[in-house]
Symmetry: C2
Subunit: 471 residues, 2 copies
Amino acid sequence: MTAHAPVPLTRPTPDALAAVVAGLAERFGTRLSTAEALRAQHASTLTWAPSQPPDAVVFPHTTEEVQTIVRLCAEHRVPVIPFGTGSSLEGHVNAPLGGISVDLSGMNRILAVHTEDLDCVVEAGLTRKALNLSLRDQGLFFPIDPGADASFGGMASTRASGTNAVRYGTMRDAVLGLTAVLPGGEIVRTGSRARKSAAGYDLTRLLVGAEGTLGIITELSLRLSGIPEATAAGHCSFPSVKAACDATILTIQSGLPVARIELLDAVQVRASNAYSKLALPETPLLLVEFHGTEASVREQAERFGEIAAGEGGGAFAWATEAEARTRLWQARHDAYWAALGLRPGARAVATDVCVPISRLADCVAETQRDIVASGLLAPIVGHVGDGNFHAQLLVDPEDTAEVARATGFIDRLVARALAMEGTCTGEHGVGQKKMRFLEAEHGADALAAMRALKRALDPLGIMNPGKMLAA
Amino acid sequence: MTAHAPVPLTRPTPDALAAVVAGLAERFGTRLSTAEALRAQHASTLTWAPSQPPDAVVFPHTTEEVQTIVRLCAEHRVPVIPFGTGSSLEGHVNAPLGGISVDLSGMNRILAVHTEDLDCVVEAGLTRKALNLSLRDQGLFFPIDPGADASFGGMASTRASGTNAVRYGTMRDAVLGLTAVLPGGEIVRTGSRARKSAAGYDLTRLLVGAEGTLGIITELSLRLSGIPEATAAGHCSFPSVKAACDATILTIQSGLPVARIELLDAVQVRASNAYSKLALPETPLLLVEFHGTEASVREQAERFGEIAAGEGGGAFAWATEAEARTRLWQARHDAYWAALGLRPGARAVATDVCVPISRLADCVAETQRDIVASGLLAPIVGHVGDGNFHAQLLVDPEDTAEVARATGFIDRLVARALAMEGTCTGEHGVGQKKMRFLEAEHGADALAAMRALKRALDPLGIMNPGKMLAA
């Protein structure tokens, strides 16, 4: 095979697959399963996508067991698909060529918490809520919060973020280092516990966001934050998406260290009113949160109130008490389920883009017009401090014409974001469903460079094939 | 050549070199030079290292001209060494195999400033001070400040940071995207102007910190920050390095959003008193700065004063007026020159490591003992909020015994940092002088993965050879 040969993309032979399954059964016993129901649970399930189950699922408990699995699969050229909690939105865990799903949920230990250094070391199958529950008594928390209670391996692999990213950054920033099993079976430890380093290529950042195509992350060192002394949160209604976005831009520009600033469009507010038993005006809404000392959150909240009023926002109602704050944030986190309630029986197709914040108002407004013109139903929510927003398409997967309209809408949404110097996904990742946009976003030469990196680390093409660079 | 052949490391043949020089002379005219004095200026000059000048220096004005240079060098297998301002500290710009130094100082334009998005696009030869001078009227600044007035291409390539990194991050965080010429001559544009993305491998972060071994950065999109409404700065003397480090740890842990927190050890204070005409107590000193509103910087400064007092620090003298603040920070930025004054005629060998902050006090204290025991003179300054510190060895390069003692000291310093889960360099980079530590830091398998990435993008080994992964 020459250095420029394409990464092979073929199903394993029945013999190869049988050899791997037999080898895994011998080593893992009942932790290896080919049961149909379990395999179906390890295909893409949360949002609507064709279900492509793996041939078998294995549950390792250690990095060395992951190494054993990868080596066996490499020997027989059988695909390996890492699996955390299955909450990915773009088909990342599907197995289009079959192969072995490596379910890391059994690797869910907290290996160390270094309170003095504000970091911890966890196994990749641990979920963010489990970590935060454990950290609470130590006055620390991990701020990155995608909607789902995802695993850290999955969050790192998709470069996840969430509502706190505007202040605390994304998984790109939060991962100090990691342990991974490369496609050849080598165990590497990247990064260190130092908060910065200039020593060599940034393998950590290469594996973060690689969606399991360059290896399986098994452990992570994560930056933590101190639970803020005081938190103020509130909400403010706006006459238009443009007014809400302009208030967001001014907030960011003025240097207010806002911890969260979330947009719900009128359709989403209507859905959340119904689902979460709220009585918010059904116009665009910003949910905002500030972290700091008692004095500083008060100052921040007052300043935001002035900015919002200047953009035509209604009264900014805010509070520092936990009970008053929690209800609205719970509604925000339930936005996905609330949206499903708008059209019972429909399936959700969640998609996201991210643009420079100066273009956000235009991008959201044009997208809303496109939704209406396309005859689609799709509430919009956004981490607008980052310029990132989501459209949650509610579709009937049996209606091929509607599915085609939804696909056309996503094509236009991405084209719109790219024309505004944005990206085809701010936090969901590429998976299967955004592959077709990568060349338009990065250009042919940058995509070729990515493929060269993939070939360099995975010459057999066994790691999560059919995703990201496969199109 | 197979995928696993070593990257070739040989001098170009005289014929190859002559062909490249002739080709460049034809295209670049007087912007190509082989003058000895100019070549010597393009070898490592700032700190002491053997001088290894390139065979010629060329001054491109556009990305396309850089592409022309790289293609010609690739055709003849002649080394290419990117050059910004020559302020690197670890021999990055030396030409151990000869070749062509590509001096980007003529590419120093600001291509765009997007005030609404807090970002800008600049050419790689622009320096940080020139950018900040231009931004000042717009209320914006670029916070990353290595000691030198370095170029952005160089700062990105060495993953530079500086005094503000504790609050604003490093070049890893500040670069939104970049344009680079890859070793094959392809022009790639990585990233976007969106503040986050989950679309594909992180080529931006792969090129940031690659020290010119994977391509030449020609343009960068950079995150900017608003000039804070108020700034408070002050200084506090401590009875010991441990007390100063403990105050730093508590400051970080308590969530105080300190903008700068810098340690000078007693030797450095003595040097700075003499050089900058100060009268500070010659004991360990912290210089601290806070950014925010008038009310918040006052609150932060008062809290820091309480923390410092609790660790045995002296009175915390602080001010918000620019004049009162500037003098001490100027002294901090002049620390390198002040240290040289401790031993006239000596050359400086600057080195840095970074450890988890919980280990900082131990690491600095052990290092001070080692300096004394080794009979060396080496003041210590540190960006201690990051756990990063520098020892500036003052050596007589003619004294081979002293040079050997300095080398042994650096070996032990790095071993100490690695034993504390730190890194062999926090911000200076690897260059020629830290290559020997990479395997100890990353392990053989991770280093092999880095070499595989290098081979994938630079199969001919022409980009800045003899650096980083060459050992």
